[in-house]
Amino acid sequence: MHCENKTMIKIKDLFGIATKNLKHRKKRTLLTILGIIIGISAVVALISIGQGMSHSINNEMEKIGTDKIFIQPKSATGMTMSAEGGAGTIGKKDLNLVKKTAGVKEATGIYSHMAQIGFGKELQTVYSFGYPKKQSEASLMDEVHTWKIEEGRMLKPGEKGKVIIGTDIAEKLFEKDIQVGNKINIEDQVFKVIGIFKKVGDPGLDKGILISEKEIRELYDEPDLFTYLYVEITSNKELELTADRIERKMRKDRGLKEGQEDFSVQTPLEMMEIFNNILAIVSIILIGIAAISLLVGGIGIMNTMYTSVLQRTHEIGIMKAIGAKNSGIMKLFLLESGILGLVGGALGVLIGFLISKGVEISAAQAMGTDMLKAFFPWYLIVGALLFSFIVGTLSGLLPARRASKLKPVDALRYE
């Protein structure tokens, strides 16, 4: 069948008219899309920072490996009913217990304590950590902490009278920078600085010192306790299983029921999950706020389009007189509101990009680490643009309908 009415308007032809109308009222156009700009830039910045954070944390966890388990006393928030009150403790007995658990390849513990260190006449408080004597335990600790030496060399297991210091201690804490080879006092005992850690962005390590476990236990008169236990398992397929075994064994040893633990056994996967959950909650809240902003932005566009229909009623009449169908007018107004959304979205993406880059740079400066990388996948940009175009178009739906339904005679008469 031959179609008599071949009068389909092409969208690209209307594009020129639509953009001219928007350019004609620049200030109004800009004010109208402000809501969209704010909404989209917030969404883009949040997603890119959130994703970047998630990526780097997950990367970090992967570096540590999926064959590690962490054990620590449960903090006061764990609320046990123990007579002493507060958290439980973990000692050498627990370490031996863990080592003997099926599926465990190696385990080690770290003891840490606040330390008073002196350099020249100044005294400062830092964190101190003990480095195990056994080579295999020391390697496990190296792996978990992923620490790197910036200057000098690493401590050898069992080495005495030597200390590795964090970059902040070397460069910021004292008036004079500490160099490799300098001597510092730890609780009035002299240690030689043989190495400086690379900055990692973790304040514990950047403002920490590492000495032998034997020496730290002597300094603080603590023969038994650990702050953390690190476990390496034989097969990473048995991660959860081994973690369960350890937990059961320790519970039995302490005579505790399930749910009463004064310690916690965590895997990197669990830690990742906890982090991702927190991130998800924060994201949902912030994206909710952004959604409200987008809604307000959409209402702004609708309002502007209604005003526009009113102001251009005569123009609509002219277009109808020279052959524009209702659908043509509808398309024109939808296109205009869609473009409003799209331009707002484009500016939003740009501003969102700048915000997250700014966060990335300031985070790098504050923490001296490239941990936080803003994440900009193409689908985020395309998605944001598409979404803002859709918001714009939907907001224009009712005004465009009103415009298209105007009677040509009435519209022409309207001045």
């Binding site: 308007i9 008219i17 020279i322 524009a324 005679v409 022409l412």
Partner: protein, 244 residues
Amino acid sequence: MFRIGDLKQMTKKKPIIKLENVWKTYKVGETLIHALRGLDLEVYKDEFLAVQGPSGSGKSTAMNLIGCLDIPTKGKIHLDGKNIARLHESDLAQIRGKKIGFIFQQFNLLNTLTALENVMLPLIFQGVPLTTRMKKATEMLKKVGLGDRMNHTPAQLSGGQQQRVAIARSLIVDPEVILADEPTGNLDSKTGKEIMDLLKDLNKKEKKTVVLVTHDNHLAKMAERTVFLKDGKITKEQKKRLKK
């Protein structure tokens, strides 16, 4: 070339537009106002018809109906033999776009667009490709003597120039009827005469049917045939012998 015989032959021809007992009633509050009361009118091909009448006579309403801008309350309107009185707005729009060229007293150009874009506009609504649009619009603007003003916006043009743009716009779809509603109403007499000459030329040289709606006796005299409207009806018809 035209002789009286031609005129006779013309009246025998089938009209392009035929209004048959057309009524248009508006409701203002509780009162009914009959703008047209059984109007009969025929517009023939190639003729220059003037519809003359004082304000309130219903001539604007008549023009709207002839131009398919509105539908009658009662009666028939035949365009090319087809009754359009009950057509849907979209169909009317299409008919307007292809068969009617409007020229208004207020020029009615789109202020944001240039002369060229204004002239191209009707073709956009018909989906004509850009290159064809450009070519035709340029041609039309040259024809009305505005070849050097194509990229000016209406605000940068004089009244006469704006009306020429409007004429070019009406011509671009190659319409069957050019409908001019007080085309010189906003122009000084000299420019007004130029525009009228242009319309007369279009009628004579291009064989365009022109319907001129005016209250001005002087202008109406330029037409071959004039119908007088009063109280929504034709009261008088006057034919002019062609001086050639």
